[in-house]
């Protein structure tokens, strides 16, 4: 579908439930919703990786997904790699109280948690598709010129 690979970068989120939801929604984008078009990178690779990893947000339009209001994924990506195209805040979608709940193992996930993953994935998908449209319009404009 997309002519451009779009980066989706999740926080690692070991602090709260929002981090688990963020991680799973990002995986869902890659595996089910936009396989092949959504690409990702581990957030700490901006420190531990090489030039290729640090240049990720310059090379790809990037959406960050943060599980809490510390905005670690967005802030770290913009400081260490490049400006992001858009950002998703899990707290805004499932509510602060739920997002800040205790972190869960994937073994403890219940149907309501999977519903949260679906809601966050839907929000990522909307932003993802908007970026795809923008790139398609840009490509069309260049072609017409």
């Amino acid at each position: 579908m997309a002519t451009v690979k779009i980066g989706v970068i999740s926080c690692s989120g070991e602090d709260c439930l929002g981090g688990t939801i963020s991680r799973l929604a990002t995986r869902k984008m890659m595996e089910e919703v936009r396989p092949g078009d959504a690409v990702t990178l581990c957030l700490p690779l901006f420190i531990a990786g090489g030039e290729e990893e640090r240049g990720f947000a310059e090379a790809h339009p990037t959406i960050t997904v943060d599980g809490c209001s510390k905005w670690c994924a967005k802030r770290a990506t913009e400081r260490l790699s490049g400006k992001v195209s858009d950002a998703v805040q899990v707290e805004d979608i499932i509510g602060s109280e739920a997002a800040r709940g205790s972190i869960l193992s994937t073994r403890q996930l219940r149907p309501e948690h999977l519903e949260m993953v679906d809601k966050v994935t839907e929000e990522i998908k909307k932003k993802f598709d908007l970026i795809v449209e923008e790139f398609a319009e840009q490509a069309m404009t260049i072609k017409l010129c």
Binding site: E14, G19, L41, P44, I47, C72, T106
Partner: protein, 133 residues
């Protein structure tokens, strides 16, 4: 120094190894060693904010990394943390050659078995470090 040991997994999102690291850490801090260990968010460590850097420096750390990039160990070192033990998932898996553990999204039964066994073994080290504090 704080008594509790920081368990910092990479939580790598690309391969099952990252999920194994994350789940071993959660099994330790939520269940087996809930008094002796805690975790801090690796994403927050990557921001290099002073608040998290101070917290990391206040306790000894065990890092658990899923790939040779060693993101957790490097990120902890980057903010001045003391690493008492660097755990690599590839080393753990040497004892389980040929076994499929699931995906980066979900572990299978063999994956959960490895998480449980590895966490029990690592708990011994956690208690040693906790006792040294």
């Amino acid at each position: 120094m704080s008594k509790q040991v920081n368990i910092i997994p990479c939580s790598g999102i690309g391969k099952v190894h990252g999920l194994l690291a994350r789940e071993i850490a959660l099994r330790l801090v939520n269940e087996i060693c809930s008094e002796e260990a805690k975790t801090e968010c690796l994403g927050y460590i990557v921001t290099e904010d002073q608040e998290i850097a101070d917290r990391i420096k206040a306790s000894k750390c065990i890092t658990i990394d899923g790939c040779p990039k060693m993101c957790a160990a490097k990120s902890v070192a980057n903010v001045g943390g003391t690493i008492a033990e660097e755990v690599r998932i590839v080393d753990i898996l040497k004892g389980y050659r040929g076994i499929k553990t699931g995906t980066a999204t979900a572990l299978n039964d063999d994956g959960w078995n490895i998480v449980d066994e590895a966490a029990e073994k690592l708990a011994i080290r956690v208690r040693e470090i906790y006792g040294e504090e």
